[in-house]
Structures are given as C-alpha cells and as structure tokens.
Symmetry: C2
Subunit: 367 residues, 2 copies
C-alpha cells in the first residue's frame, strides 16, 4: 500500500509529510517527537479557548449559525459547515448549549493533537464537540488527529470510536486514538515495533560457561543448559541489561565485554518483532546463587560439554552463536562496543555500538 | 520495583512466573507467545459454556446460590463467593438473568485470557459477568487477566476500566487490557519498547556519497547533506529496509553490504526507545530521481566535502559514524552480515547478524 501511495500522482504534500513522519528515523532526521506525544511540553504555548454557538434544528441535521459570542474566530470557521449529530442521548440537545472545537495543537505535519488535560469534564459534551471539531479540522484541510484519552476518561473511548477513531497504541495509563481525515490508508507513524532481549555468554579462566536451566521451559527442551537471557527493561542499555539478567538468574557478577551478534525475528509476542543481542561478559565472581523461583539450576559447565549438547549441535541458531563466541575467545572475531555519543541533532546522549576501532586494534583480533 | 520484587520472600511462584514471562526473551527461552495473544489458535480447544445461576438480593450485595442449571461445575465454583455488583443501570438486575464466567482460556503462567470472539453480545451483560469472572478467577488464585477488546466492542472499555483493568497495548483494531489480581506492581510482560530505523551509506567508485536534504528538516539543519534514513516497516528486515529507503528517497538502486554500527537511544516518540542501524550499501545505479514530496534535493557528493560539513565535524555522533564508514572503506573495519538461521526452539527462520567469519576473513579486514 505504501509503495503504491508513494507513486500516486494525487498524493498531497500533507499526506506525504505524514508518511515521512511515519518512516523517518533518528539520528539523521528531525522527525523525532513529530507526532506530538509530549503533551505536557507542547501544550504550554497552545491553550485554546472554547467557542460558543447556537443552532437551528432540522430532523437531526443541525446547521451551525455564526457564533454569537465567539472569542476565537479561527475555531468557529467550521460553523458554516453542515454536520450531522446523533439525536440519541442527552448529548444531542444542543440548544442553548456551549459547543466548540476541542482544545488542541497543530502538529508540523498538517495534523492536530488534542490536549488530554483539557477534555470536556462533562462526557455528554464530548460527542458533539468531537463531531464539531472533526468538521472544523476537515474544513481546514487537517490530516491526522491524535486523541490521547487517559485511563480515567475511558468513557470517552466508545464515543471517539463511534466517530471513526481507531486505536493507535496504549500504555498503562492511556490509550491513543487517531483519525486519518484524508481517507485511504492511514499514513501516521506506527507504534513501537520491537521487543529487545539480551543473552549473556559468561566464560571463566577454566573455560567453563555459566549456564542455566529454566523452570518454565517447554518439556522437550527442559534438559538443555543455556545461557541466561531476558528482555531489557524500559530505557535500559543493552550492556546493562545483560549484566543484570546474569546477576538475577545466577547471582554471578559480570562485566560487559562486547556485543557478539544479534538476531532479528518477526511475529512474536503481540505480533511484534524481536531483536536479541548476544553479549560476551567477563565474570567478576564465581559463586552461584540460583534464583530458585525462576531458574531450575545454574552451574559452570565445561565449554566442550556445553557445545556437545545434542540440541545445541542440531540447532542452526544455537550452534552458530556458540561458534562465534568460540571464535571470539580465540581472538578470531570482534564484536561491538558501546560508546556514549551526543548528537546536536537531537541533543541527547545515546550509545553507538561499533567495532573496537578506537583501540587501534584495526585487525579486529579481539583484546 | 522489579528488583525489590525479586528479593521478596513472599513472592509466589505464579507471580514469579509472570515476571519471567515479562523478562524472558527469544531465542533462548520458551516464553514466546506466552501471554496468549494468538487467540485464534489458542481458543480452538478451550471453548467454554456459560453457566446459569439465580441470586438472592440484599442491599445490592448478591449472594450467588449454587447453580441450578450449571453445565460447567468448575466455572460455577465462584458462585459460593460473595460479590458486589453495581445497582445502577439495567445490568444490575440479576434476578432471572443468566450470568457466568466470561469465556476464557488459562495461560501457562497462572493467568487467564478472555476470548475476544465470545464476549457477551449484550453490553449490559458484560459488567456483571466481568465482576463475576473476576471473583471466580480470584478465588481460583489466578494472576494476570488478559482482556482483548476489538474496536467494534469499544463500549466495553469503560466497563472494564471501572472494574480495575488497565491498558496494556493497542493496535489499530483492538485494545488489550490487563488486570493483575495479586495486587502490587503488575508483573505481566511489557509492550513493545523500540522503534527500529536504518540509514544507508552509499558510496560509488568516484568516492562520492549519496546524500539528501529533507524538506521537513529543522531550519538550523536545513543545509546539511545527510544519508537517507527511515524506519523499517512492520516485519521488514534491516537490510531490506535500508535498500528500500535509499530507493524511495533518491531513486538509486543499491545492494546491502554490511551493518556498520548501531545506535541505541531512549525516550523518543511515544516515550519509546530507538535502535538505528547504519548500513553500508553498494550502488547498482547512478541516476538520481528525487522523491520531491519528501526530499528537497539529492546528489552524489565527494566524500571529502561530505565530511567537511561543519555540522558533521562538530557532531559527536555524525562524525563517529562517518569515521567508521571511512575505516570500512579502507578495509580497517568490519561490520555485520545477516545470515538466515532457523532454531528448533521456536521453529522459525530469523536473521543472525555477525562479522564476516564465514568468509575465512578472520582478521576482519573487510572484503
């Protein structure tokens, strides 16, 4: 769909801008934060004022008249526009009621971000205001509408869905809904697409690998000794997550050495993708303290025994990862090291992972 | 919170199992798909039957009697349990009404996954059924409850929130809500955490780099020539995404060479993290056809000019990435290559990215 859209001669600039917002990525792009989800900051300078209007009724079709007490001429532009509202329920009685455009901010891609902190207190007022706002935004040629509804305003969710909003993403305390005015496929940026996991390959001076058996493993793999693994936590670094997981599962302290390889897989939990980073870690302690709620057993296992496990030998992925780790031990391989960098383009610190160029070890023979 | 939880002596096995489900990662774990979001498959073998019951009223507190016409003894266990339901609205009248536990499946971590295809048709029946179900699941010692509500059943969202459910994640057509029965911090696995972007470093035989200026860039960076970048699409490979982005923005066909480095940053769009992979690509064509809706200009720029741009020279991230690319051109650096691998542990193909070990080029001098 997207490729087709790109070829379309009729695509407007705003549609394209929304598409750009969906596909552009840091650090070489300015489209970070483009979709206006940093509400607390963004709304500091865009407080709107509700407008008032009175209406004439005709079989459920209301024709807004020019606002009598409008204080925001731009926002009442939609009042020259016929629009249909439901005649069911208390929210449909608009005579002598205040109505106006929802308090919102324009984004830089021709879209609108509704202020979640200034939604109407009265839920009955929300439906007509949303209808009125959509008419207004349509008339102004707006494209994507972002509507963030806090958990405590969940009664507004079915109202928004009834008006044609779809879910975009949700976190524990809110759901974000969107409305794509131009019709056709929604070109707004997508939700997060990936989980990120880490595995710790820890080997000591005796060529023993730190391995675990998990309590909740599938029965057919229950006897396999594997390296400790886990998802990284929110905003956690890969190198920190690997050290944490090993400590939690085995009690062993380690030091991050390198990212050895990573695996990219698709259609996993919640139909999302997964990036799994294999990290080589250096042990700083030896004593094992098994996390007995999660882990069945943990031990230091001779590397040759670890590799010789039939399920490892027969498995394309396991076998390759262990081959790489062994090559790394023999200094025939080099992984990636993180370095803190700051870019002026987004003014934030981040980690760049790359080979050990800085050590002068340009032949990548390890260290 | 999590670390504290891990140390807690009072943590139950089921709580721990849920925690495990949250932090375990492929490919070394069997916890993929652990949270029961593959409903269509999972529900094929767990169709339940609604139960019937009659009730005695006492000031809004209903004491379920033993079911008279129960057809599912397990599901009526909760009927010995006092529970409170709202006396407001039509859903509160339980006399002579059918009520039962929502159709659901147990997951393997002590949780319950409600069947989104068998929610009660009558929305008024949902509130008492949900209350009844929660009482039932609590009595059975269940932990995490997964409630997936399709977009067309959005009227049930506020009902679930009123009962204490929180949002977990959402995609266009549904919102997933969860309820953590044990109280305390919710230990269910988290939503996707990362966006994934790619950048294409394309250099030709004349030492010219393929660069673009974007139309929607921040004014202070408008004059910078940068490499083409973008987010990868859902389930797209990194190497495919880089080639696609370059083609879309510049019209130039390329061939993937290596992942040179990657950047990990946090708290970007929707407060998610970002992994950005810099890819070296080999041009297969030279003629530029600018995507004039998205791109201001594109050209082949001499490498020395590209590097000499003041904003590049002054930028910690840009400068380092270009240094790495130049080292790679001089064969003093090696990146990562993807290889298709299949693991028996999840029986799916995936890409493992690692250094060019297979070529026998163990000194990583490039190719």
């Amino acid at each position: 769909m997207e490729l087709k859209f790109l070829d379309s001669k009729s695509s407007s600039l705003s549609e394209k801008a929304a598409l750009v917002a969906r596909t552009k990525s840091s650090p070489f792009s300015s489209f970070e934060h483009s979709v206006g989800v940093k509400f607390s900051q963004e709304f500091s300078s865009c407080r709107g004022v509700f407008t008032k209007a009175s209406y004439l009724s005709s079989n459920g079709t209301f024709m807004p008249k020019r606002a009598i007490s409008s204080v925001d001429k731009e926002k009442t532009a939609a009042e020259n526009y016929f629009y249909q509202i439901s005649t069911n329920g208390p929210g449909s009685s608009l005579f002598s009621r205040n109505i106006g455009v929802l308090d919102a901010c324009d984004d830089e891609y021709g879209g609108v971000v509704v202020d979640p902190d200034r939604l109407p207190v009265n839920p009955d007022a929300f439906a007509p205001m949303l209808q009125f706002s959509l008419s207004h935004w349509k008339m102004k040629g707006k494209k994507g509408i972002w509507l963030k509804l806090p958990l405590e305003r969940s009664e507004l969710v079915p109202v928004a869905v009834k008006e044609g909003f779809e879910y975009h993403h949700a976190e524990r305390g809110y759901v974000m809904l969107t409305y794509w005015i131009p019709g056709g496929p929604c070109m707004l940026p997508s939700n997060a697409t990936h989980q990120v996991g880490v595995g710790g390959f820890v080997i000591n001076d005796k060529n023993e690998v730190l391995v675990v058996q998990e309590k909740f493993y599938a029965p057919s793999f229950a006897d396999v000794w594997k390296i400790p693994t886990g998802f990284i936590l929110e905003s956690e670094e890969i190198y920190t997550g690997a050290v944490r997981e090993v400590k939690e599962e085995t009690g062993v302290d380690t030091e991050f050495v390198e990212v050895i390889a990573f695996r990219h897989a698709h259609n996993l939990d919640f139909d999302k993708s997964d990036l799994f980073f294999v990290c080589m870690l250096k042990p700083l302690s030896a004593q094992i303290k098994v996390d007995d709620l999660e882990i069945q057993a943990a031990k230091w296992m001779p590397l040759v025994e670890f590799v010789a496990q039939p399920l490892i030998q027969e498995d394309g992925l396991f076998k390759k990862i262990i081959d790489i780790c062994i090559a790394r031990l023999g200094k025939h391989y080099c992984g990636l090291l993180p370095r803190q960098v700051v870019s002026k383009f987004d003014d934030r610190p981040s980690c760049l992972y790359y080979n050990v160029l800085d050590t002068g070890n340009v032949n990548c023979n390890g260290n």
